[in-house]
Amino acid sequence: MHGSGIPIWFFIGVLLVVYGCMIFGYGIFELMTGSYPPLVELTNLHTPIWWGGLLALLGIFYVVKFRPGQAR
């Protein structure tokens, strides 16, 4: 599915970077303000920070590895 077009993995990478940054950013906001959503469990684990960070890192890997024009 590479051919001359943009690989699907690049699209996925972009989406993961965007989602990861949004969720990571919200996690930082939560941490800074101390305002956690009511009724959500385990907020002490700061899930948005590490999960958002993981998604963003994975996304960056895919974006770089499968960027358009990159020879594979």
């Binding site: 051919g3 699907i8 996925i12 989406l15 989602y19 949004m22 385990l42 907020t43 899930t47 948005p48």
Partner: protein
């Protein structure tokens, strides 16, 4: 897909959908702006992909077969993803809550052997024959009548399932988020219509792979956080045994020696023959919805490797589906901190509340709670009086409830996006498969034989668009004629077993003749319908079909598939003996013993398809022993 759904969905959604609607007085969760942004970005991305791929879907080969240029990884992920819809995710999580890891059979023995068989044995035939569809193979092997019978039934099934899928998604969005049903249907249908009409199968596959990643990204947090809270797997086991007073929730085979010893009411012979062989092989090797994804691979090696790659991911799916159901057994809580007990859809339906907030039919609700649930007596009383926070939730809501429990803003949007992506992908799979079968196996042979290539692409695009419109109609038909759900879902099981018999005998027995293939298919379908109707009219018939008075409806599905397969195979065998077979020369590429398979280029050992297949089988065996 519905044939592989748990009975809570596949055999009982004649009532649950309206029950959910009636009960959804308050949504489970409210989305924040960040969640909405996550969902909007997803929609923008899928539609943009459709426009981007439009320029690469101009010929019929590009539009219907994605140009046959998919890598093994993309074809393999798409192959698994086409079966990983949200109904399945939620349905099997609910089944795990009800039955424990017995539900895992539908992911392991109900998939892995068939996927490996498809990759190693059957794929070369599909690929070498260069057919555009499974009905296309039937035409080459058994003639036009068999093709038309399979094509018409498959096309009808796809459209109806697409409608059911769409309506079910809208209901889930209503229950979880309080979204308007019409809004959900129109938005999702429009998005699917745009990206599949523009980009064809390539666009559907692109989005299926993206959906697969999103599902893992959105759903994997639930088991991770659940296990942390439950105190790892040992803590989960300990608490389930304490709550449920049995350890059978952790055994897949140990309690299947008799129908009465397990909550599903199944026997291991039914699991092995009905599920592991007929339903699984029928679905994964002959259902065009999934086979089409593998046929789009760029060469034979990729086509063989795709299902093997898919088998590894399929084995991992219980982590995000079955585990959340088990965790729900011990972690879900009522607002007062007591353990939340989920109930069947029929109990939810019996306890619908009226405008005043109390249960409308207290007598029916009391009976249902007493006979069909394990709700504590004091909680039942609260339900009857309509006390705040005592609304009942069904088994099928186990996964959304777990998501709401752990996911705050942003993460919840990601989880909901995963569910929406699952629904849209399932629908896109249905309409893209419908479009191919309609164009190649119905329109071309019956309506216009000698059209130009561009004409058939245009027909394909229009058929997707019209297919979506008809699906919306089918969705509303389901909404207003609830009993039809049983029949739509049973439709799958009617065809899959006889189709498997016809294709296996066609591929592996050169003596099988065209009239035998058609008659076997027809008699197999009729016998399956006959057994279904018999049990509907006379529930005692279940004991005869499943060979035990202790058998439950799930067992009937398994044994009905087995008997329908046997009947179709016997008819094909007997009729073949008295009819004239095709000359061997005409069976090249269609029958195992008459075909010289192309030699594959030598590859390093780590790229050898047999090696990875063997490893998949070993892991599959080890998992079954581990959870025996």
């Amino acid at each position: 897909m519905f044939g592989l759904l748990p009975d809570s969905f596949a055999a009982g959604w004649s009532s649950p959908l309206p029950a959910l609607l009636a009960f959804s007085t308050a949504p489970m969760a409210h989305l924040r702006p960040l969640d909405i942004a996550v969902i909007v970005i997803y929609f923008a991305m899928v539609i943009w992909i459709g426009f981007y791929l439009k320029g690469r879907s101009n010929t019929s080969e590009e539009f219907f077969m994605a140009g046959r240029e998919m890598t093994a990884w993309i074809a393999g992920l798409s192959f698994v993803s086409a079966n990983l819809g949200s109904l399945e995710l939620m349905g099997w999580a609910g089944s795990a809550y009800q039955y424990g890891i017995l539900a895992t059979h539908w992911y392991w023995i109900g998939a892995i052997p068939a996927m490996v068989f498809l990759g190693l044995v059957m794929m070369p035939f599909y690929y070498v024959s260069k057919t555009h569809s499974v009905p296309g193979y039937l035409k080459l092997r058994f003639g036009e009548h068999a093709r038309i019978l399979a094509a018409v039934s498959f096309a009808a099934e796809m459209i109806l399932m697409s409608g059911v899928n769409m309506f079910a998604m809208a209901v889930v969005m209503k229950v979880v988020l309080g979204w308007d049903i019409l809004f959900s249907i129109l938005i999702s249908a429009a998005a699917v219509a745009i990206y599949v009409t523009l980009g064809g199968l390539r666009s559907a596959i692109f989005n299926e792979v993206m959906q697969f990643v999103l599902i893992w990204g959105g759903a994997m947090l639930v088991p991770i956080l659940g296990l942390i809270q439950a105190g790892s797997v040992s803590g989960l086991k300990r608490q389930i045994i304490a709550n449920m007073h049995t350890d059978s929730y952790f055994h897949m085979w140990r309690d299947t020696g008799h129908f009465a010893s397990n909550p599903m009411g199944v026997h291991w012979t039914g699991i092995v023959l009905g599920l592991g062989f007929v339903i699984s092989f029928g679905y994964w090797t002959t259902d065009f919805l999934v086979v089409q994804r593998v046929l789009a691979a760029h060469n034979l090696r990729a086509a063989r490797m795709a299902p093997i790659i898919g088998s590894y991911f399929k084995m991992a799916v219980p982590f995000i589906v079955i585990l959340p159901g088990l965790l729900g057994l011990v972690l879900l809580q009522n607002p007062d901190g007591s353990r939340r007990v989920l109930v069947g859809e029929d109990v939810v339906k019996s306890c619908v509340v009226n405008d005043a907030g109390a249960v409308a039919d207290a007598a029916a609700c009391t009976t249902a709670m007493n006979t069909k649930s394990t709700l504590p007596a004091d909680y039942q009383q609260k339900v009857l009086t309509g006390a705040p926070g005592t609304e009942l939730h069904s088994y099928n809501e186990a996964l959304p409830l777990m998501m709401v429990r752990y996911m705050g803003p942003g993460l919840l949007g990601l989880g909901i996006t995963a569910l929406i992506a699952g629904f849209m992908s399932g629908m896109a799979g249905n309409v893209s498969a419908f479009s191919t079968v309609w164009t190649y196996d119905i329109y071309k042979p019956l309506i216009k034989k000698n059209g130009s290539d561009s004409h058939y692409v245009l027909v394909g695009r229009w058929s997707i668009f019209l297919g979506v419109i008809v699906s919306i109609g089918a969705g509303y038909l389901v909404q207003h004629a609830h009993g039809i759900m049983d029949y739509v879902q049973a439709l799958f099981s009617f065809f899959i077993a006889p189709l498997l018999a016809a294709i296996l005998m066609g591929m592996f027995w050169k003596r099988a003749t065209a009239p035998a293939g058609f008659l076997g298919l027809l008699v197999g379908i009729l016998s399956s319908v006959g057994m279904f109707v018999w049990v509907k009219m006379n529930p005692a018939g279940l004991a005869t079909i499943a060979l035990s008075p202790d058998a439950k409806p799930m067992a009937e599905n398994l044994y009905r598939a087995w008997w329908a397969f046997c009947i179709a195979a016997i008819v094909i065998f007997l009729v073949s003996l008295v009819t004239k077979p095709k000359p061997v020369a005409e069976l090249d590429g269609l029958c195992y013993s008459c075909t010289v398979l192309p030699k594959e280029e030598p590859v390093p050992f780590y790229k050898n398809v047999w090696l990875w297949a063997l490893l998949a089988v070993c892991i599959f065996a080890a998992l079954n022993i581990l959870f025996w």
